[in-house]
Amino acid sequence: MVKITPYLLLAFLGGVMLRSFFDIPRDWILAASGLAIGFLIIFYFFKFDSKFLFFNLLFLVFVLGILRFSVFENKIAADKLHNYYGQTITLQGRVLSNALKQNSSRIVLETDLGRILIVKRIYPEYKYGDVLEVSGKVAEPEPYAGFDTAKFLAKQQIYSQMLFPEIKKIDYAPNKFLSSLFFIKDKFTKQLKTVLPEPYSSLANGMLLGEEGVLPKDILDSFRKSSTIHILVLSGYNITIVGSFIMSFFGFFLPAAFAWAISVAGIVLFTLMTGAEPAAVRAALMAIIGLVALRTGRQYLAISALLWAAFFMILWNPMYLRFDRGFQLSLLATLGLILLSSRLFKKLWFLPKLMGIREAASSTVAAQIFVLPLLISWGNEISYLTVPANMVIVSLVPTIMLFSFLSGIFGFIFLPISAIFAVVPYLLIKFQIYAATFFARF
């Protein structure tokens, strides 16, 4: 029974995946699930061989995956704002998040009628927990430059937007727990920004938190053209590598089990410092699974842990599978790490073992091979130098994350030490920008 679980989990993910690409009529889904349950009953009475049961269960779970997505999509029924498309109304709501763009900022507002995306001028800035009164025209999110904005917003249960409304702040009423998390995150990023100049601090922040933020266009373009823009997507894989750094550092003078525990604690601390946003929590979970794989070397255990984690995340929000890049990146890179890195390690016999160079190379290549199809599906330009570019640029990300994190932490204690730690990300990011411009030329 245990042996078939991974296949069932995969079938569920497959169902969600299929449904996220094609709209399947509800009647078909109901008919298919009826069929599957019918077969199950038949099996109960007639006792066919167990292979039949296996495929039947697989089919049932697959259909359940489809059903999960459909049910999630129907959440739009609970949203009342979409009834007001085209109308000018006044709304009151609480700010959930705030993101800065080049010439505007975007806030997500939670109102009694549903969530809405507000596009506004950069100033005045509002933060989590502010209660605002906005008046403007409610509109349906429109596709932008071939990008299905509506689906991406639907992932967060946002079905409407309002462009440059009149805004009035009327109150500040945050959730105590969340606001303290936001406070820590804010403080942390501010520390980092005081020691690291731009554009390095925005890039370091992007790698740490997976936020694209605002970066000079030429820099973004070089990263895009060298197909390394995904350094700005928070991936569990990178956190795994950070964890393994911590592990080998403490492993130097502490027993292995202690070192392992410290590195897991480090990941938890990291998640808290970055505001414990859902994306960071998901990435951290995958990272801990990756660490288990690295530590125990038991592939089957690691894979089933990874699949279970993916299953629960997708059960929670099935739209992640197709519309959340961090989720996709974490899942595939960690899978590559588990499946391929130990095999590659033997193949790369010509690299020195000194300072873990061979290990780093094998895990980078393994993750990279699994991530490549994703990069293509995101519509990135793929040059024939993609693999070397990623080897050079992406493999620096964990080191940058580790030292930016240390710098941010020490910012709370003693600023000069923080500035010294930040020299590492400063130089490495400088090199990354240089390398990206170089690879973008081909």
Partner: protein, 297 residues
């Protein structure tokens, strides 16, 4: 426990020694680079940053005095400053807000948040946009010395270099103007006979006043007023200041800047025109009494 560490040290002796050597080398490299940069520095360096449609001008002298005139539109100035300031430098001696329009003030709000600013120089005029309001707030939070220019003042810094404010000649503190360009801070940098005139967004009326009162004379470099708009750079004014170089700070815009007439008038007084939208950041150095201009994309 110490024995344990001794054991660890012995087992990894080579690694630790190599680590120490590479750290020393890195330290030597960094300090070498620092002194090399210092030796290369010009007496006065002025960066006309390419910040898109807007103004942001950074002046630095050999002794490290740093002045920023305007900050440009949002999200542009910080990467530019990050590139020219040394890594451990988190402070500016003075920032100047010539007038509170968004394409001049926005970047200064970001600068105030990131850098320690000692002095803020402005006209004090009020303006209704949220950016202008935010700037006022940021200045009071910074606790910087605030200087309102209400008469001709000059600030001396390195080796006889002077930043002179030519206008306004009365206080606009909290004034609400129909056209805030009337309160624009016009300044001139003098160093060993070289003169650079920063016009901000000053229009015709101010140009006339400057020429009529004899506040300006022949200059070497003119930062052209109002991004090359036809509201500025009148012939009579250009004939007074006779610039060798004219620098226009602008980006893609819907106002038709720079106006072809302005370009013609500048050319007719013999000025070589440099534009941030086509050439990128324009860097002007005064080195051994020579003016050196170059552009960096």
């Amino acid at each position: 426990m110490p024995q344990h560490f001794l054991h660890v040290f012995k087992a990894n002796k080579r690694r630790i020694i190599w680590g120490a050597i590479s750290l020393l080398l890195a330290g030597g490299f960094v300090s070498g680079a620092y002194f090399w940069e210092k030796a290369q520095k010009a007496d006065i360096t002025i960066y006309f940053f390419d910040v898109g449609q807007g103004d942001a001008i950074f002046i630095e002298s050999y002794d490290g005095t740093q002045i920023l005139i305007d900050g440009g539109p949002p999200n542009q100035i910080l990467p530019k400053l990050g590139e020219v300031l040394p890594y451990f430098d988190h402070s500016l001696d003075a920032i100047v807000l010539t007038h509170p329009h968004t394409d001049h003030v926005s970047g200064l709000i970001e600068v105030l948040a990131r850098y320690e600013v000692k002095t803020v120089i402005e006209s004090g005029a009020s303006y209704h946009t949220s950016e202008a309001v935010e700037f006022k707030k940021a200045v009071s939070e910074e606790g910087a010395r605030r200087i309102i220019v209400d008469s001709q003042v000059e600030f001396s810094f390195y080796d006889g270099a002077k930043l002179k404010f030519l206008l306004p000649d009365k206080s606009y503190e909290s004034a609400i103007l129909k056209n805030v360009h009337d309160s624009a801070l016009v300044s001139e940098l003098d160093y060993k006979g070289k003169r650079i005139l920063f016009m901000s967004d000053a229009e015709k009326n101010i140009e006339e006043k400057l020429a009529r009162d004899g506040r300006v004379g022949d200059v070497d470099v003119l930062k052209v007023g109002h991004h090359g708009s036809k509201t500025s750079s009148q012939e009579i004014f250009l004939k007074t200041v006779k610039p060798e170089y004219a620098i226009i700070s602008l980006g893609r815009n819907r106002y038709g800047h720079p106006h072809p007439d302005v370009l013609n008038r500048l050319a007719s007084v013999g000025a070589k025109i440099l534009r941030t939208d086509t050439e990128g950041t324009i860097i002007l150095e005064i080195r051994n009494d020579q003016l050196i201009l170059r552009a960096e994309k």
